[in-house]
Amino acid sequence: MKWFTLDFEKPILELEEALRALRKQSEEQKIDLSSQITQIEQKLEALRKDIFEHLTPWQRVQLARHPRRPYMLDYLQRIATDFIELHGDRRYADDRAIVGGLATIGPHRVMVVGHQKGRDTKENLMRNFGSAHPEGYRKALRLMQLAEKFRLPIVTFIDTPGAYPGVGAEERHIAESIAVNLREMMVLRTPIIAIVIGEGGSGGALGIGVADRLLILENAYYSVISPEGCAAILWKDRANAAQAAAALKLTAKDLLDLNIVDEVIPEPLGGAHKDYDVTAANLKKALLKHLDRLLDLDEAELLEQRYKKYRKIGEFARSTPRKRRMAARPEAAPAPTES
């Protein structure tokens, strides 16, 4: 994989480089540079903290999209002891942007379903950059209903810029494939945990995201629209994406404050891509904790709680009713307008 760094990661990389050079020099020339090394180490630590504890929402979006960020299968490799992939929606195709199958995680046999991005150009063509077509959502539902039938809990991994906007997707009714998943996931009689591991891109994310527990990694985001899309509409310029990212309240912390997510899973300093193993261990710990709790609930209670979880989302007020023209018959209706 090609080396890739974000702008705000660069000062850290430069120091890391300097540290490596110093150590090499010390070793090769057999001179004691330990005090300089310690000094740089401390500086590096302070710089890391300074940058990563004050990330802007837009910087977090960039981390969530980092090409070296761990994807669903990277986690599965680390948290599952077994995985049998199951393919296809039995109707049209196997959408590789969504992966699903049977897995063993800790003591539990579960059904996993999630978006999968590609690591390089070739793989990204196959995975469609994690943007699923209707087939992907229908495969996901097929597997989740299989899980319900055989009483397996469901774990979904969300990591998509959005459902694919294309002619074929519209022809095969991408909107319906997502809508049906929303309706059916609400009433699936088995526990569901959804984890946003990277990009939570609007309806394409929610399409496998209705769950009893919603967890999110520290630098992942979840939003109704991409910051660029929002900026293009409200600011008339995609260059305002950073402002849009802040306005949309899309970071893990924001979503916790808004009571949308149940827990934020910590990432190592510098982001998930700095240490796959540590991130995966954190994810596994949180996942098993919530799964244990959900497995204690009886089915009716589980479904009631899930319904209420979504039922209560929304903020509004009451005003004094304004004058209406409700009683208007067509002939008394306001004159036709420029609509």
Partner: protein, 291 residues
């Protein structure tokens, strides 16, 4: 969710929402055939061009007057108003925009809900209004539609939703996205009780509304030549770098691809929905017969 933008759609379809209402008695130019139409005559014709059948946009109150049996509509939750939970800091404040649209439309938000009779059948009716912020779905729209569905489940009656929408309401961020799950979940419970949901799609219905309740009808009807889809045509064109097929994302395109039950001319809408209610609207009668 992409909020619908006024570009890239077939030119036969109107693109502008009303900025001002013309005083009654004026002439109106048809967007499709260019004919000058006498405004009152157009209103009496359910805002369908008398020359070319072009369907002009309709407000929620106009649609309710068209669908509900006279004098039967009782509005619910008229007083729910949106709040700026996110403190949306952008080019314009959300609160200001809400106020402007409330003044302009006489509505509190983008959907009107209530109970009525339709050809004698009691139904829970929700009608969206594109002139209020592109009928985008925020907390109020999601809440009112959810309540309309839950009330229908409670009363064991059908729900009829007339949709139009540019999608989820960006100003409410993730809260608006989650209304998709909330409304769809309410429909799951309504469906479990074997109750009927008729979804009527009007120009335009896109994005978050299309990817939730609007696509979940037992019966899905569309007005002619409405723009209906998930992603906006401009976004699709930019993403795929392809020319879009002719008539892409119109009602007729959806019918051809097997995605909706029927296209219904506005003048036939009430009689059609009435007949569907005759067939499917009385669960108790059907179950008694079957048992």
């Amino acid at each position: 969710m992409e909020v619908f933008e006024k570009t890239g759609q077939p030119k036969i379809i109107e693109t502008k929402q009303k900025k001002h209402e013309l005083p009654p008695g004026l002439w109106v130019k048809c967007k499709q055939c260019g004919e000058m139409l006498f405004a009152k005559e157009l209103a009496n014709n359910l805002k369908v061009c008398t020359h070319c059948d072009y369907h002009f946009g309709m407000s929620a109150p106009e649609r309710i007057a068209m669908l509900a049996d006279e004098g039967t509509f009782e509005e619910t939750d008229a007083d729910l108003v949106s709040v700026d939970k996110l403190g949306f800091t952008g080019v314009a404040s959300y609160t200001d925009r809400l106020k402007a649209y409330q003044r302009q439309t006489g509505l509190n938000d983008a959907v009107v809900t209530g109970f009525c009779k339709l050809n004698g059948h009691p139904v829970s009716l929700a009608v969206m209004d594109f002139s209020f912020l592109g009928a985008s779905m925020g907390s109020v729209v999601g809440e009112k539609i959810t309540r309309a569905i839950e009330a229908a489940t409670e009363r064991e009656i059908p729900v009829v939703i007339v949709s139009t929408s540019g999608g989820a309401r960006m100003y409410e961020g993730i809260l608006s996205l989650m209304q998709m799950a909330k409304t769809s979940g309410a429909l799951a419970r309504h469906a479990q009780e074997r109750l009927l949901f008729i979804s009527i799609l009007t120009h335009p219905t896109t994005a978050g509304v299309m990817a939730s309740f609007a696509s979940l009808g037992d019966i899905i009807l569309a007005e002619p030549k409405a723009l209906i889809g998930f992603a906006g045509p401009r976004v699709i064109k930019e993403t795929t770098q392809q020319e879009l097929p002719e008539g892409f994302q119109t009602s007729e395109f959806l019918l051809d691809h097997g995605l909706i039950d029927a296209i219904v001319h506005r003048k036939q809408l009430k009689p059609t929905v009435g007949k569907l209610l005759d067939y499917l609207g009385n669960r108790r009668f059907t179950t008694r017969k079957n048992n």
